[in-house]
């Protein structure tokens, strides 16, 4: 990690906080650029692929973090970490959400922020690493290609984010088993599960929505109080 400096874009309307966080993250070894408005963030992100992770505050005057996410996600897969207000109606926000890679409640300890950013970067770097074995899996008509990190349904590519792909491949690899939220968070997001942590639920619900849009329903079951399970296909 030391030989390459990762570049972070920090978007928050509180400029003083941006300055402090960027000082912290720079000391921690990141290259940080800050922007204080949603519009600026969208145009910057659409013109450039140089950022390894974007930290995006949801509550911003004018164009909100969710709007930025929607605009960027339509064209780019840059990893995005959302800063949500603590105690905001998180489920409602996440229901509207368009596929961020992780979430962090604000105010937070900057060390936690740095750890989350590292987790995201590690995940995307691993995914891009060519050493990863090519795995083809097929289940319920979903074809996973871990080489291109894409999922195909009826030869149509499902638009999955990195975290969603990881979650889906984990579920498919262990079909018929219930995987706890804790384990999934660690495997998929490279970080421990926290209290009030809905990130995994959001990712799974996004996968379900995308599968349903492709005509595949009810293949991922929620196991109450534990986690999720990919159902074994019933023999025809």
């Amino acid at each position: 990690m030391e030989n390459e400096k990762y570049k972070i874009l920090l978007v928050d309307d509180d400029e003083e906080l941006c300055a402090l966080l960027s000082e912290f993250l720079q000391t921690d070894g990141f290259v940080v650029e800050t922007l204080s408005s949603g519009d600026a963030a969208v145009s910057r992100l659409l013109e450039s692929d140089e950022f390894d992770t974007v930290v995006l505050d949801i509550m911003m005057p004018g164009m909100s973090g969710l709007d930025v996410l929607r605009n960027v996600r339509a064209k780019k897969q840059t990893p995005i970490l959302m800063l949500t207000g603590r105690g905001d109606d998180i489920d409602r926000i996440l229901g509207l959400e368009m596929g961020a890679d992780d979430y962090l409640a604000k105010p937070c300890n900057p060390r936690e922020l740095a750890a989350r950013i590292r987790a995201i970067i590690r995940r995307t770097q691993n995914a891009n690493a060519p050493t990863q074995a090519m795995v083809h899996a097929e289940l319920h008509g979903i074809v996973l290609d871990s080489g291109s990190r894409s999922a195909l349904v009826n030869n149509t590519t499902l638009p999955l984010t990195g975290a969603e792909f990881n979650a889906l491949s984990l579920l498919m690899a262990r079909v018929g088993q219930t995987i706890s939220k804790q384990e999934m968070t660690e495997e998929v997001l490279n970080r421990p599960l926290e209290a009030y942590d809905r990130a995994m639920d959001v990712h799974v619900s996004r996968i379900r929505q995308k599968l349903a849009a492709a005509g595949i329903n009810d293949v991922i079951k929620s196991v109450r109080g534990v986690g999720y399970q990919m159902l074994t296909p019933s023999p025809r």
């Binding site: 509180d14 003083e16 906080l17 402090l20 966080l21 000082e23 912290f24 000391t27 921690d28 207000g85 603590r86 105690g87 109606d89 604000k106 105010p107 937070c108 300890n109 900057p110 060390r111 939220k181 804790q182 599960l193 926290e194 209290a195 009030y196 942590d197 109450r224 109080g225």
Partner: protein, 449 residues
């Protein structure tokens, strides 16, 4: 007890309350009394005039006959004193028709006397009667007595008329009473609606356009509700803004502390700053939650109570890994309510249970249906709470045993209570005999409109 039951039945059957009956009865009684008094006056005046007229007519005709007889006797030459009485006695139908009187001729001689001895001078009156001889005779009689009034009244008000008046006055009174009570009831419902649902609606124009005292009252209530609402929402807004504004500097403080920590990783003081920042952040969160509960909640949603319980239990499992939560859900425990508020209540109560539970002791969480309520019970095996402290626990910033715990602000239970009350439910606490604390949230399944 019986009376109040009867009263309740009446209230429900007629949909009217005390005031209605009070006004109704007062008006009715008053109108009946007025009518009776009028009747009395009319009847007494009318009948006494008539009675007097008849009395004097009778007196005069009797006296004229006596005088005629006397003059005849006189012209015949003999004046038999007792004969006239005897004669007149024969000439009337019954003896009681004889009117007491004394007739005196112009020389002062009494020519006829019947039962006037005992009549006092002030009860006497006199008339003049002329005989055929054109001589005047003075007739002394007693004043007419008052007629027997009630007999007369009853005689005059024939029963059917009376019933008609009775019903008509009842109808008029009921209308009057209803006209007063109905707008009052309406205003009551109007303010209740505000209190329960914080709906600010103007009272209907018809009410305001009345122009009477009730119209003024409606305008005043409407004014008051608007003022109250404004004050309440200003306060909410203020609380909300202040909390939000506190968060920004807090985030900067945390960031600054983290930067200092980078240069000086072993600093105890920075760790202190971090832990206090966490604590303040949590407090701000609680205050925001508390103020949010006061806010208008326009939509009632279906809440799957079991799912909420599981979700909170999941969070607690991460927070308190050493406390197992045993969940026992009644199937389809659903209520209509406010999921977010309910979630907060559950989080605070289950969180408390976990916090005070000894390591490894389970927290028992269950839902059940009882009548039209769903009851969520949370039972821990911790130190429990003394009976006299239970009430106080529900006050903001109160902590059991006056202990200052490193986490918590004494807001959790007040938030829970508020959230439950928002649903029209109740929060109960019990001390089970075998220790620990049992908290029950009783929630109505359907929200009252």
């Amino acid at each position: 007890m019986k009376r109040s039951e009867l009263w309740q039945t009446l209230k429900h059957t007629f949909g009217f309350k005390r005031l209605f009956w009070r006004i109704f009865l007062t008006f009715w009684l008053a109108s009946l009394l007025v009518m009776a008094a009028t009747g009395y006056v009319l009847v007494s005046k009318y009948s006494s005039d008539e009675y007097n007229q008849r009395y004097f007519n009778d007196v005069l005709s009797q006296a004229e006959r006596i005088v005629w007889r006397y003059e005849q006797d006189l012209s015949n030459g003999n004046v038999p004193k007792g004969k006239i009485k005897e004669w007149i006695g024969r000439n009337v139908k019954k003896r009681s028709d004889l009117i007491p009187m004394q007739i005196v001729d112009n020389t002062g001689r009494t020519i006829y006397h019947f039962r006037m001895n005992k009549v006092k001078p002030r009860d006497r009156t006199e008339r003049l009667v002329y005989g055929l001889s054109a001589l005047p005779y003075r007739v002394e009689i007693r004043l007419p007595e008052a007629p027997r009034i009630f007999k007369q009244v009853l005689y005059r008000f024939q029963s059917l008329q009376f019933v008609f008046i009775f019903i008509a006055s009842a109808l008029v009174s009921a209308l009057l009473s209803w006209g007063i009570v109905r707008p009052i009831n309406y205003l009551g419902a109007f303010s209740r609606r505000y209190a329960n649902q914080q709906q600010v609606a103007a009272p209907p124009k018809a009410m305001l356009a009345r122009g009477d005292e009730l119209g003024d009252l409606a305008a005043d209530i409407s004014f008051m509700i608007n003022k109250t609402h404004q004050a309440a929402s200003n306060q909410q807004q203020l609380l909300h803004d202040v909390s939000h504004e506190l968060r920004a500097p807090l985030a900067r403080l945390q960031a600054s502390a983290a930067i200092i920590e980078q240069h000086n990783p072993e600093s105890r003081h920075v760790k202190q700053i971090h832990s206090d920042c966490e604590r303040m952040s949590a407090l701000i969160q609680q205050i925001l939650n508390y103020s949010k509960l006061e806010k208008v909640n326009p939509v009632v949603e279906m809440c799957n109570v079991n799912r909420l319980c599981e979700r909170v239990a999941d969070d607690m499992a991460v927070h308190y890994p050493s406390i197992p939560i045993e969940f026992n859900g009644y199937p389809n425990a659903e209520i209509s309510g406010y999921p977010e508020a309910l979630h907060q209540a559950l989080e605070n109560i289950i969180g408390n249970a976990c916090k005070y539970s000894p390591r490894g002791e389970p927290v028992e969480l269950s839902t059940q249906k009882q009548g039209n309520t769903v009851i969520i019970s949370v039972r821990d095996h911790g130190p429990g709470v003394k009976e006299d402290e239970m009430e106080k626990l529900l006050q903001p910033f109160y902590r059991a045993g006056n202990q200052m715990h490193t986490s918590g602000f004494g807001l959790g239970l007040s938030i829970a209570k508020k959230a439950i009350e928002k649903h029209g439910g109740t929060l109960r606490m019990h001390s089970p005999t075998d220790g620990g604390l049992l908290v029950e949230m009783v929630l109505p399944i359907h929200q009252q409109k």
